[in-house]
């Protein structure tokens, strides 16, 4: 089959850029370890409390080391359970100092949700039966809206929270 000379140049150029591109994302994935979240850890969606991280007392923000935090969250239609404040009301805002490393651990009690801290790289599917985890360094000050970004029912757009980096 005949290929025009210019077409050969074009295809070779395309293939070369493709190889370069794949090398870059491959390098980031396997040498730098930058994968999208995938922990393949399962949980019983009807009994999430059986997992220590998702017991009511352990929900919300915990400082595990200097500048290192864990946030445990249970998602359900149409709420993110971020634990309770000292006065017993439901926490709506997670506050962490600038530069801290925060590990978000989320699971769902019912349907599929999407957990995103808008304006950061924290963006993951939350599915019943699975634990979603993503660690991020909070480099910028500000208030970041936590949205549910996968349709979970008629109150989907009312499911939110806030992460405040101070």
């Amino acid at each position: 089959m005949h290929l025009h000379k210019y077409e050969k140049v074009w295809i070779v150029f395309g293939l070369a850029s493709l190889v370069l591109f794949l090398l870059i994302i491959g390098f980031a994935a396997f040498w730098k370890g930058t994968h999208p979240q995938s922990h393949i850890e399962t949980i019983d969606p009807q009994n999430v409390e059986a997992n220590e991280s998702f017991q009511p007392d352990n929900l919300g923000l915990t400082e595990v080391a200097d500048g290192k935090y864990v946030v445990n969250i249970v998602a359900s239609a149409f709420n993110y359970d971020l634990g309770k404040e000292e006065d017993g009301t439901a926490t709506k805002t997670i506050r962490v100092p600038k530069g801290s490393t925060v590990l978000f651990q989320v699971t769902s009690k019912d349907v599929v949700h999407g957990f995103q801290v808008a304006g950061t790289n924290v963006n993951m599917m939350v599915e019943p039966g699975h634990i979603s985890r993503f660690e991020s360094v909070m480099k910028n000050n500000g208030e970041f809206t936590v949205v549910c970004n996968e349709y979970c029912g008629i109150g989907h757009h009312l499911m939110f929270g806030t992460v405040e980096v101070y």
Binding site: M1, Q37, Y151
Partner: protein, 550 residues
């Protein structure tokens, strides 16, 4: 091409599909308009209609119904023109039409009564009414009947023309229908075996990740199923419209074969942020996804080569003189051309979306919505409109008059302007975190959210302009179908150069290409599928109340 139209009974079948297409366009477009208005925050839906009901309607009727009906109808006409259709095949064509239509009506009934607000992806464990799933099954089965009728049409022709290569367009239709059949096996298994018994209560739980994976095994080839008929027009019809010849028959076939092979083993790039899939397999499918760059670049080359060769043959010798002299005032060319232009940012956005890491910045943000409104809702749909301008009058024995041609050009401009505004503001809002698939919400307030809302205002502006474009297109369709003056409209099929070289026989060796396709699918999916099943968590019970069902 000879000066003849299809026989009446043939035209009737192809037109039936077109009627459903354009009625779907009108309904689906109206839903789209309402969505952008709701999201502007200045408008609430009357009669307690739920936002997610219209969102589901929009996605199902435009993404699944309009596209499938247009494609099946258009492809039947291509087969009829190139290899012919027997009375028996015509009957099967009608059976496929009615099965698909019954399925559509069943699903639409459930969606409109609020029993199936599960969006077109129907992710479990949200449970719609069982009739919704039965309707979807009918649509798929109807399209299979069309696929096997198309296979039979080419088979019969080949038997009567021993040793000849199949007509290019018939070859392309068969490639698209093979891809569609292999891909829909996944979603059909998910719907019929996993979801339907669970929705009826015969099975207590469902494996959520498995149904999602089977959906996306189908969901990505679905977008190529939309795109390939547009490519058919670009490769084999546009050259005729601009007065040229086919650039290269074998290269066009090779591009389609590559698209078949690399369209299916790639679904994980829609599931990159999924918690239950091994990242190495995600990466492997990302690499397979990017192989589509090769046939895409081949297509871009051959299109512009055709444009230049045709222009130079007409005597325009300066560097870009041939470009100026393309038939810009012919809507049959202009509409698909604007579609091609939209595919440049559309394709670039696709590369971003499928990237292993960058995806997490845009996943499920309204950036994605902006992306596929460039690809399917501009590239594909403007090419489909470009086809409709000659196909409808050809089928009804009417003519595309200069006035209708001019209205078509206006329609194309309206579309380009509306989509530029809507899609650009969606892309920007998505980059700063605005979610897709969400009704108007101020969340917890703050600067971030008010910026999103300002972009949502622009989406309402773009959406309104687009709806004007839809009304105009519907008007043009009605004119071409019922009122345009009687006459003959050409069915443009490009011919090969007289001295064109022969296509290698291997290109028509279906065993080889289907074999490689299946091997690639088995490679990309076997191990992760076993993992998903072996490491599956306790299943999920159905949830009705979140979608407003009692």
């Amino acid at each position: 091409m000879e000066l003849f139209n299809f026989s009446k009974k043939e035209s009737r079948l192809y037109m039936a599909f077109m009627h459903v297409t354009f009625i779907s366009l009108l309904i689906g477009g109206l839903m789209g308009l309402l969505q952008t208005l709701v999201r502007s925050g200045k408008y609430t839906l009357p009669f307690n209609i739920d936002y997610y009901t219209i969102l589901t309607t929009h996605g199902v009727i435009l993404g699944l119904v309009l596209t499938t009906f247009f494609i099946v109808g258009f492809q039947f006409s291509l087969m009829g023109k190139t290899v012919g259709i027997s009375d028996k095949q015509l009957m099967w064509g009608w059976i496929s039409f009615w099965v698909m239509l019954v399925g559509t009506v069943l699903s639409a009934w459930m969606i409109l009564t609020g029993e199936a607000s599960v969006l077109y992806t129907f992710y479990t464990p949200l449970r719609a009414h069982p009739i919704f799933y039965i309707g979807l099954t009918f649509v798929i089965v109807g399209s299979w009947i069309a696929a096997f009728t198309n296979f039979r049409q080419l088979y019969v022709w080949k038997n009567a023309h021993k040793g000849e290569k199949s007509p290019l367009l018939a070859f392309m239709v068969v490639i698209n229908m093979i891809m569609w059949f292999v891909a829909t096996l996944g979603v059909a298994y998910s719907v019929i075996v996993l979801i339907l018994p669970w929705s009826l209560g015969y099975v207590a739980t469902v494996n959520v990740l498995l149904t999602r994976t089977l959906f996306w095994y189908f969901g990505h080839p679905l977008v190529y199923f939309w795109l390939l008929p547009a490519y058919m027009a670009w490769y084999a019809i546009i050259p005729k419209i601009i007065g040229g010849k086919l650039f290269s028959d074998p290269l066009a076939r090779l591009a389609f074969i590559l698209l078949l092979m690399f369209s299916i083993p790639v679904g994980f790039h829609h599931q990159l942020t999924e918690p239950g899939i091994d990242p190495t397999w995600k990466f492997i499918q990302v690499v397979l996804t990017f192989m589509v760059v090769i046939p895409s670049l081949m297509t871009a080359f051959s299109l512009f080569a055709t444009f230049e060769i045709t222009g130079r043959r007409k005597g325009y010798t300066s560097l870009f003189g041939w470009f100026k002299k393309l038939p810009w005032k012919d809507v049959r060319f202009l509409a698909p051309f604007v579609g091609m232009v939209a595919f440049i940012p559309g394709g670039a956005g696709g590369i971003i979306n499928a990237s292993h890491q960058v995806n997490s910045l845009v996943h499920n943000t309204i950036w994605i919505t902006g992306h596929f409104h460039l690809t399917v809702a501009t590239t594909v749909i403007l090419t489909f409109f470009g086809i409709a301008y000659w196909l409808i009058p050809h089928l009804t024995g009417r003519r595309l008059t200069p006035t209708l041609n001019k209205l078509g050009i206006i329609q194309t401009f309206i579309w380009a302007i509306g989509m530029t505004i809507m899609s650009t503001s969606m892309h920007i809002q998505g980059l700063i975190g605005g979610p897709r698939r969400s009704a108007f919400s101020e969340y917890a307030g703050g600067d971030q959210v008010s910026t999103w809302i300002s972009y949502q205002m622009w989406q309402a502006v773009g959406g309104t302009i687009l709806f004007v474009g839809i009304l105009l297109m519907f008007y043009i369709f009605i004119q071409l179908a019922f009122f345009a003056p009687r006459g003959y409209e050409e069915y443009p099929i490009a011919e090969e150069e007289v001295d064109a070289e022969k296509s290698p026989k291997i290109l028509e060796n279906w065993y080889v290409w289907v074999g490689i396709t299946i091997a690639l699918i088995l490679f990309a999916y076997t191990i992760p599928m076993i993992d998903i099943i072996k490491h599956s968590p306790p299943g999920s019970i159905p949830f009705d109340w979140p979608i407003g069902r009692s």
